[in-house]
């Protein structure tokens, strides 16, 4: 019974998933079948805007990416909480508004802190 309900609700998503995946494979396959083939060493090189690549593609990234990624995750979690809140906001009324206000205010403190510390600046 549960499965039927799931199928009813998520069938469009499943179809979309299959079509998208199938399309990706189909495009590669079509190109392979009908496209002209001129293999060569240059074609196997990593593409870097037409330049000859210098050094290895494997290199260390600055810690700044990590910082941004962590901050993104933290604010992402904040946004996740907004969804169930928005769904039941009418039932919760003013009380719900205050709850979320407290939550967002505390994270706003974090936002101001991060901003003022220059963690959001790139150079």
């Amino acid at each position: 019974m549960l499965l039927q309900e799931l199928l009813r609700d998520y069938l469009p998503i499943a179809i979309l998933l299959f079509v998208a995946t199938g399309m990706a494979f189909a495009m590669v396959a079509l190109g392979h079948l009908f496209g002209p083939r001129r293999d060569g060493k240059a074609k196997l090189m990593p593409y870097e805007s037409g330049m000859t690549p210098i050094g290895s593609a494997v290199r260390r990234m600055p810690v700044r990416y990590y910082l941004i990624a962590v901050l993104f995750v933290l604010f992402d979690i904040e946004v996740i909480f907004l969804l169930p809140w928005a769904v039941v906001l009418r039932k919760l009324g003013l009380f719900g508004l205050i709850e979320m206000l407290v939550f967002v205010t505390i994270l706003l403190v974090g936002y101001i802190y991060v901003w003022k510390k220059g963690a959001l600046e790139w150079e």
């Binding site: 009324g93 403190v109 802190y113």
Partner: protein, 482 residues
């Protein structure tokens, strides 16, 4: 009203400290880099206000947030332990951070956040709150341990603590999930009811065991103690002093509340595990401490051993009428350990130097001649850690052993006394080195540090000679709670 029994008034001290922490974080942004001690003083006043607020109303018996939090004598007394260790550690940090060139304003808000987590931990009446509180006290501690990030050993210890801590948190979450699966509840009262009906299923026992792993890691009990020496040695000493008291007390607070209220009827199942923790921690902690040459590692193993003694006090908790007695013994022991240990770490900070020299026990040679006051205080702390009169440590050990005896665990008390005798060897060695050997070296004693040492030494001595009033307060606050 959309939530029954919100009781914001009862939780005001907690809410105040949380708001103070957030506010301090903001204010610190506009405090210039050379005046960061102002942030420290503001953190200190936040701690102090909350401390007096809580102590003005010790005997509360309330619940808040729909039964998620308990505000009672047990949590209030432990709040005083957390806040007290916060106050003393902040005082020490004022000079320590500058001296070691690691001063940053965030230190103090992080400390406040950690204390808020500890406070929530001791109030928690729901497994989800326990988990959140554990993370809330741990995450700032991971950062504080790595605060001296220019030093490789500080970074290393932060990484070790974080990885193992995250791992133990995973155990705890898994345990909570299994407990929920077995009882379909996360609140202690509801779990207690479900357990009383269904009894011990293997699923429930597995859950309890996994959850205990997470908590025993926090209190650094053997065999989950591996991180302790490295982290205590590598972390900035102020942080070590703070976390060795605060995190340990918070972990025990959760253990006491969970096992005494939710799993009370399963005492026959969990008591042997607690006994095992007690025996392993006291024996291995004390024996391993003997061979240490670094005072920091010695104190780390000593802290493992002390976790064992607290477990000795928890064992009688399963015996109906004795659970109040056990809870009082736990609180008194943690208070004694807290005062003594922070005092000892203050002396370590005074002898320690920014270049990493002075952390060996041999560096304490001749301390009595150079700085008699400091040496006398350290002597008192070592006596108290051993558990010899006339110190608070003696009263605390006496209290713990009396509780275990009342529950009929004579052999456990014998093990305890034997390990105390073992511990006397390495604690008294520090005293001998200080008073008998000659040596030189500098001690740095700013006023705040002298104050901390003085207060803790005086408290250790006075409460050792006159423990009656404090004991009466502890017993009356806890009576009938568990």
């Amino acid at each position: 009203m959309t939530i029954s029994n919100l009781n914001l008034v009862g939780t005001l001290p907690l809410l105040f400290l949380s708001a103070w922490a957030c506010g301090l974080l903001l204010v610190d942004l506009w405090i210039p880099g050379d005046r960061k001690h102002m942030t420290g003083w503001m953190a200190l006043s936040g701690f102090a206000i909350t401390f007096f607020w809580v102590s003005s109303n010790l005997g509360q018996r309330e619940e808040a947030f729909g039964g998620m939090l308990a505000i009672d004598g047990f949590s209030n007394l432990l709040h005083l332990v957390f806040l007290g260790s916060g106050i003393l550690a902040t005082l020490l940090a004022l000079n320590y951070l500058k001296q070691h060139d690691i001063e940053r304003g965030e230190f103090y808000p992080l400390m406040l956040f950690s204390v808020v987590g500890m406070m929530i931990m001791s109030m928690a009446k729901d497994l989800i709150v326990v988990f959140l509180a554990l993370e809330m006290l741990s995450i700032p501690l991971y950062v504080l341990v790595g605060f001296a990030r220019t030093r490789a050993d500080s970074e290393e210890s932060a990484l070790k603590y974080f990885l193992l801590g995250a791992f133990s948190s995973a155990f705890q979450v898994y345990g909570i999930a299994l407990i929920y699966g077995a009882t379909q509840a996360t609140g202690f009262a509801a779990i207690g009811d479900a357990v009383a009906i269904s009894g011990a299923s293997p699923l429930l026992l597995a859950g309890i065991g996994l959850m205990l792993v997470g908590l025993a890691f926090k209190v650094s009990a053997v065999p989950l103690h591996m991180w302790t020496p490295d982290v205590y040695q590598g972390a900035p000493s102020v942080v070590t002093g703070f976390m060795s008291v605060g995190a340990k007390a918070a972990g025990f607070a959760a253990i006491v509340r969970i096992f005494f209220s939710a799993f009370h009827s399963l005492a026959a199942d969990w008591a042997p595990v607690i006994v095992l923790f007690a025996v392993l921690s006291t024996v291995i902690g004390n024996v391993a401490a003997i061979s240490q040459t670094s005072i920091k590692r010695m104190l780390a193993f000593s802290s493992i051993a002390h976790a064992g003694y607290v477990f000795v006090a928890i064992v009688p908790g399963g015996y109906g009428a004795l659970s109040d007695f056990a809870a009082s013994a736990v609180i008194f022991y943690l208070a004694a350990y807290g005062l003594t240990n922070i005092g000892a770490w203050s002396v370590v900070i005074a002898v320690d130097h920014a270049d990493g020299m002075g952390s060996d026990i041999s560096n304490y040679a001749g301390l009595a001649r150079r700085s008699p006051g400091l040496a006398a205080a350290m002597t008192l702390f070592m006596l108290s850690l051993t558990g010899l009169p006339p110190t608070m440590g003696f009263v605390a050990k006496f209290y713990v052993f009396r509780a275990a005896l009342a529950a009929g665990y004579t052999w456990l008390v014998v093990v305890g006394v034997v390990t105390v005798l073992i511990s006397a060897y390495y604690y008294l060695r520090v005293i001998v080195v200080m008073w008998m050997n000659s040596g030189d070296g500098q001690v740095v004693t700013p006023r705040a540090l002298n104050f901390t040492v003085g207060v803790t030494a005086a408290a250790t001595l006075v409460l050792g000679l006159l423990p009656g009033p404090l004991m009466a307060i502890v017993e009356s606050s806890v009576r009938g709670l568990f």
